[in-house]
Amino acid sequence: MEDREILIEFKENNGKDKAFSALVSKYQQRIYWHIRKMIIDHDDTDDVLQEVFVKVYKNLDGFREASQLYTWMYRIATNEALTFLNKRRKRLSLGLDEINNELENHLTSGVYISGDEVQMKLQKALLILPDKQRLVFNMKYFDDMKYDEISEITGTSVGALKASYHLAVKKIEQYLTRN
C-alpha cells in the first residue's frame, strides 16, 4: 500500500485501523533498526518503538504532508530515541561516559547481538561519539541515507551534517587503529 493511500484511508473513519495496520507492517522494521542502533538493548528499543507508533497514531490526522511520511516517522523515532537516552542519563544521574558504559554493557551482554570481533569493535567505537553524531553516522554509514534526507530528519543543515560525519569517521578510525 502506498503512503498516500495509507494517509487517505487513515483520515476516513472506517479505514483507520486498516490503514494504521498497513503503516505498522510497512515501517516497523525500518524504524526498529533505526532506534535499535541508538539504544542497543532490544527491550528498550521495543518500548521506544511502541511509543513512536502511539505518537504516529495520535498525530497522523494532523500530518500536513510537508515532508514524506517515512521522513516524518524517522523524525519522531529520532526524537524518541534521543529523549530516551537523555531521560535515562538524568534519571540515573549519569554522565556521557557512564551511559556509554551502560550501552557497552548491553553490547557485550550478547543478548540478541551477533557480530564478530571487528563489528563489535566498530559498535564500541561508535559509543565514543555524542548521541547526535552517532545518529548521523548510523544514518549515513549503515543506512546509506542522503544528506538531504538526514537533514530533513534531524533539522540540521547539510553542511553541518557533512562536517559531523567527517569528524565521526576520523574519531572512529582513530579508535579502531588504537585498539
Partner: protein, 218 residues
C-alpha cells in the same frame, strides 16, 4: 558677355588638384626594408610573450599516466577499515524470533490502554499557563532576593538603556550570564523540560499520581 559666362569654378583649376603632401626623402625606397624589420621585431615580441607563458615547472616523467592509480590508492587508504570491511556495514543486532509478527498486536493493546487513560485524563499541571507564570514569578523573585547587596532598584517607569546598564554594573549580577541568555523564557523552558522529564518518568511508574494532581486542581 554675361556674368554667368565669365564665372570659372575654382575646383576646375588644375592647381587645386595638385598633391600638397610630401614624404621624407627615400621613404618609398626604404619602406619594404622598414616593414620587414618591424615584422621581425613584432615576431620576437610574440615569441617572447609565448615563452614567458610557458610553465617553468616540470613533472617527473610519466607522472600524469600514474596519477589516476595513485589517487585510487590514496582513496582506499583514506577510507580505511570502514569501507574496506564490507561486513562492518551490517550492525550486529538481532530481534527475537517472531518479534515483528507479534509487534502489531502488542501495539494495539497499548493504544487501547492509552485510549482508556486519555478519556479519564486531566491536563498535566506543567501544561497549565498558571504553572508557567508561577515558575516565571519564582524565578524573577529569586533573581532579586538572591542579590541582597544590590543597590535599590530605580523607580519603575521608563528606564533608559544607560540607566539599566549602570544599575546592572553596580549590582553583583553576572552580566556575561545574563548576556548569554536569550531571555527568561530560555530559563523557564529549560527548567520545565528537566522537571517534566522527571515528572513524566515518575508518572510512568506511579499512574495514581495523576489522580492526586486532579485532586489538587480542584
Amino acid at each position: 558677355m554675361s556674368n554667368e559666362e565669365n564665372h570659372i569654378d575654382p575646383l576646375d583649376n588644375p592647381e587645386m588638384k595638385k598633391n600638397i603632401f610630401e614624404v621624407p626623402d627615400g621613404y618609398f625606397e626604404q619602406f619594404e626594408a622598414n616593414l620587414e624589420a618591424r615584422l621581425d621585431t613584432q615576431g620576437e615580441e610574440i615569441e617572447l610573450s609565448k615563452h614567458l607563458k610557458e610553465p617553468v615547472f616540470e613533472v617527473p616523467e610519466g607522472y600524469f599516466d600514474q596519477l589516476q592509480d595513485k589517487i585510487k590508492a590514496k582513496l582506499a587508504e583514506e577510507s580505511s577499515l570502514l569501507s574496506k570491511e564490507e561486513k562492518l556495514k551490517i550492525p550486529p543486532f538481532e530481534a527475537p524470533e517472531g518479534y515483528f509478527e507479534g509487534f502489531e498486536g502488542k501495539l494495539q493493546e497499548k493504544l487501547a490502554k492509552n485510549h482508556e487513560q486519555d478519556t479519564a485524563k486531566v491536563v498535566p499541571m506543567y501544561q497549565k499557563n498558571w504553572f508557567r507564570l508561577a515558575v516565571a514569578a519564582v524565578l524573577v523573585m529569586g533573581f532579586f532576593i538572591l542579590s541582597p547587596t544590590d543597590p535599590p532598584f530605580p523607580p519603575t517607569g521608563e528606564l533608559s538603556e544607560e540607566t539599566m546598564l549602570a544599575y546592572l554594573s553596580e549590582s553583583d549580577f553576572d552580566l556575561d550570564l545574563i548576556a548569554s541568555l536569550d531571555g527568561f523564557d530560555t530559563v523557564i523552558d529549560q527548567i520545565l523540560e528537566e522537571e517534566t522529564l522527571d515528572y513524566d518518568f515518575d508518572l510512568g511508574l506511579n499512574p495514581e499520581l495523576e489522580y492526586e494532581l486532579e485532586y489538587l486542581e480542584r
